[in-house]
């Protein structure tokens, strides 16, 4: 990892935080940079809702198997443990982790991941979520990468809170719930577009994100407009300077890859 690359990323993230920015898009940018900077294969950011579920808010990959892998961690796995302990939990070789996390290990190995790390997302002693990192090679995450990951997860917390000072628990709860609901709107719009434009969920998300960026819209606002039909699905596909062949439709069962941006 080059220092220049690291610096450029933090400048990019800091720049985003200045304006009236889109939290969900910011979180996606952050997990994508995690994959590049930390030299890992996939990353996901999870927030805890008030009812005890870790929910995926942004991921570098949107394939079904990946989603299942993340969701499984509401029962067992490094993310759940990192969240509960408020500390880093990692495993350098999941082939020997079968006793600790029987179901998670099988699912991770099937998806081609051998090493995993999870870092808690903290705010003043309270844990509000976790960053999940996956690698296809064995070994511990190098110390420098771990430090960078910790810094990135702190930036994610700042992004979630936006410009508002967290005076109390109530504002934190409000922001968390807004972010979680935005995520649901996005999933609904992805499904809508996936059918209308006959594409997979990952491509639908790419279309939405590019259009939102090109037209300076917040993702959740755009997604609401899509499912409410105030914007036509085909307008999105044609006007965001996207040609269908530029999108990379993922194949079912294909090994997970970080999406190139």
């Amino acid at each position: 990892m080059g220092d220049d690359r690291l610096l450029a990323t933090f400048v990019e993230l800091a720049d985003t935080l200045i304006d009236d920015f889109d939290v969900i898009d910011f979180m996606h940018l952050l997990v994508e940079r995690c994959v590049e900077l930390l030299d890992i294969d996939a990353a996901g950011l999870l927030l805890a809702d008030q009812r005890g579920h870790l929910r995926l808010i942004a991921s570098s990959d949107a394939q079904v198997r990946w989603l299942e892998l993340v969701q499984l961690q509401n029962d067992e796995g490094p993310c759940l443990e990192a969240f509960a302990a408020g500390d880093h939990v990692g495993h350098p070789d999941l082939r020997t982790a079968g006793e600790r996390w029987p179901r998670f290990t099988v699912a991770a190995l099937e998806s081609g991941f051998v090493a995993v790390d999870a870092l808690p997302m903290r705010l003043r002693g309270q844990v509000i979520g976790a960053l999940n990192l996956f690698r296809s090679g064995t070994g511990d995450l190098p110390g420098t990468a771990l430090s960078t990951a910790r810094a990135l997860v702190d930036v994610a917390t700042i992004g979630l809170l936006q410009e508002r000072s967290i005076r109390n628990q109530e504002i934190l709860t409000e922001q968390l719930q807004i972010a979680l609901n935005s995520r649901v709107v996005i999933e609904q719009a992805k499904g809508f577009l996936a059918h209308r434009l006959n594409m997979d969920m990952d491509s639908a998300f790419t279309v939405l994100r590019r259009y939102a960026r090109a037209h300076n819209l917040k993702l959740a606002e755009l997604c609401t407009a899509v499912v409410d039909r105030t914007i036509d699905a085909h307008t999105l596909a044609s006007s965001a300077a996207i040609r269908r062949d530029q999108l990379s439709p993922g194949r079912e069962g294909e090994r997970l890859r970080p999406r190139a941006t």
């Binding site: 844990v127 709860t173 409000e174």
Partner: protein, 242 residues
């Protein structure tokens, strides 16, 4: 906040409270029983469920007393307040002390009038699943103070039940048992979006159709949603799912 996989347990418990309040198991959740139970169990002075009118105004569907109804009306009249903010942002607005300086600044018209009427704390929880907008659950009490983590989780569970009640009333009753909706499952929401496109309906109608089909075929909602996303099940406007 403590993380324990208690979503389903909490849901069952809250549902049992409401059933006890309405006088027996198996009876459908009514908004009246829901509001009364929420008010009682969360230590509130009152509760109301509002719905959004077609012009975007809040309208009280049920309230446990005059105060909750008046609080909603007041916000519509002065054009500001926690319920309106909750509707706009899609997130809860939790006000533990309406008399605080920050609240008086945030709602210069509403906050002094509400305080004068004897309300110190007000919690507005939007009835929302993504783009599905049902209205708000409004809780108020005379004593200032925040909801505990557990109370907040219960309040959100009441909110989910209220939304389901409104959805079922809207699209023909679907009683799909005591299971909580797998709202944390992205595929449920993706499937809902796909069905809305297939049937050319709103997201709320699409979710109702998905639930109805799961109930009719006795399948877990998450399994059916996965089949819809994988395009193994599609919904046809002229008939049921195939």
């Amino acid at each position: 906040m403590t993380l324990s996989p208690d979503g389903a347990d909490r849901y069952a418990r809250v549902r049992a409270w409401i059933e006890a309040q309405s006088g027996g198991a198996d009876s459908a959740v009514s908004l009246a029983a829901l509001c009364e139970t929420a008010s009682l169990r969360l230590g509130m002075g009152g509760a109301a469920v509002t719905v959004e009118t077609s012009r975007g105004w809040a309208e009280t569907r049920y309230s446990t007393g005059d105060m909750a109804r008046r609080l909603v009306e007041l916000q519509v009249t002065v054009g500001e307040g926690p319920c309106l903010d909750a509707t706009r942002t899609g997130g809860p607005v939790l006000v533990s002390d309406l008399g605080s300086l920050s609240c008086q600044r945030r709602w210069p018209l509403f906050a002094p009038l509400a305080t004068e009427a004897g309300v110190s704390a007000l919690f507005a929880l939007p009835l929302r699943v993504g783009s599905i907008r049902g209205g708000t659950l409004v809780l108020h009490r005379a004593v200032a103070g925040a909801l505990s983590g557990g109370q907040l989780a219960d309040a959100l569970t009441f909110t989910e039940l209220a939304l389901r009640f409104l959805l079922d009333g809207h699209a023909g009753a679907v009683e799909d048992g005591a299971d909580c909706l797998p709202l944390h499952d992205p595929q449920l929401h993706q499937a809902t979006g796909m069905i809305a496109a297939q049937l050319d309906t709103g997201i709320d109608e699409a979710l109702s159709r998905l639930r109805a089909h799961a109930f009719a075929t006795r399948r877990p909602l998450a399994d059916l949603a996965a089949d819809v996303v994988a395009r193994r099940v599609t919904f046809d406007p002229s008939e049921e799912a195939t």
